[in-house]
């Protein structure tokens, strides 16, 4: 099943001026456990998905109280620098939709 069918919220947003953070939140506990236990989402996998070095994934945590998985990617330049494409970092999450969760 695709992640977009299991999660109720998949979002991205600035976390400070140098990072974009991604939240995958399931309303349903069983869906969350399925995503969590599949192990498909991990630091290396999200680095590969977005084509960045693993070192740029500064945080990867499973946040049980919110049925959520959260990770953070360091920007190459601070938000709002010249050439900026997404000032708030709000439209970087879409590639997560199609991640296959067994």
């Amino acid at each position: 099943m695709k992640l977009v069918e299991l999660a109720t919220t998949i979002r991205s947003k600035n976390a400070g001026v140098d990072h974009i953070t991604f939240d995958v939140i399931c309303r349903d506990r069983a869906n969350f456990e399925r995503v969590r236990d599949s192990g498909v989402l991990n630091r290396g996998a999200v680095a590969r998905l977005f084509g960045v070095d693993e070192g740029r994934v500064t945080d990867f945590v499973v946040f049980e109280p919110a049925n959520a998985i959260k990770f953070t990617i360091r920007r190459l330049r601070p938000s709002g620098s010249m050439g900026e494409s997404d000032l708030f970092g709000a439209q970087q999450y879409a590639p997560l939709f199609d991640v296959e969760i067994p």
Partner: protein, 455 residues
Amino acid sequence: MKTVRIITPTGHLGTTPLEKASFERGCAASPDFIVADSGSADIGPYPLGADRAACDEVWQRHDLEHMLLAGRRLRIPLIIGSASDTGTDRGVDQYVRLIREIAAEHRLGPFRLAKIYSEIPVDEVRRRLKDGAVVRGLNGRPDCDAATLDRTDRIVSVMGTEPIRDVLREGVDVVIAGRSSDCAIFAAPLLEAGHSLADAFFCGKAMECASFCGEPFMGKETILGRVDGTGVYLTAIHPEQRCTPASVASHAMYERLNPFREYVPGGYLDMSKCSYEQVDPKTTRVTGQTFVASPSTWIKLEGSGKVAERALFITGIRDPYTIANLDRVIGWARAKLTERFGPVGGTYNVFYHVYGKNAVMEALEPTPATAPLEVGIVVEVTCDDMARAETICHIAGKNLFYARLPDVKGTAGTAAIMSDEVLHARPAYEWTLNHVMEVADPRELFRTQLETIGA
């Protein structure tokens, strides 16, 4: 321990107007304080660097008017943090002017106002650096040195609770604070009432974006926070919204590197052991938060500096052959710039934002583009000199119209020009400081003035 109730109607005062109905309901819930944050670093480095508001004064005034009138009617203090987006001295002075105007217009009786300035001259940081202060880069940034400051036009220091607690103790009715830690403006009155650092900062953390901590998703609706010594209680006021364990916990992780820690001057809030429980249909109680004090006090500095002037040109392409060969077209246009103006990245820069292809995600885009029906291209040029930026930008855009491709059918123009003009954009700034500086006293970078407003 005294129960303290706080309402907040907006997560960023001034962006769009607060919703009056839930705010009035919140006012009817016997609040002790009205609190709102009005700033953010999310808006990019331009407002701080150029010292301009990001929000429209019409909405800033609208929200301040509702909140001031409610505060005076209920005889409870109003606390505003990070005045006018940047929290610079300009922002504080602008909000104090608006408060004066609103008070005069409504003939409000006399009340006491505190303004707390948080701007710090670049030379003051330079002096401290020379005297041996460490200005440490946050989250992987290098520490600040003289060169960092040379690139910086303006700096704000981010206050914790201390300067706000001081003026609350003076019995002021309105606090207009410069750049402030979002959660500190909520925590200050809770700490004054004797509540724990953990509950005070957690309450602030949960409330700083107002109704974003409730569900379903709504902005600009009022949230009520209550702290009574048995936990932090968050209640959604809008009839259709609820604060649930899921909504409050998801908000705890919003806009942060990780969901477990919130740093403030003097330590951090640890949220890793929080538990969330629904206590009534609209209210969630949070317990288990702790505060870990640090042995030294570090104040966050935000700095921004101007990099270059900036110009934009907008165009679009419909021809499928040109779209299929867009990289060649842009490559050719860039080559023409290099030929006339020297290498890109030398004395100027050019960015082709190709909407329809990968303008949004750029290098982070993993999905191969499928050919779109149309693409829109925004050409961005930066350069020290505005006239030159304009010249370069016009050619950078017009060369998409003259693109050379061997089999192109449309030989009368290879791009749809929306308007044959170069748009003057705001100058390019960059975040130069996202650092912390050690201080002896958490008050030492902030300046407070009290005044009486009203007849």
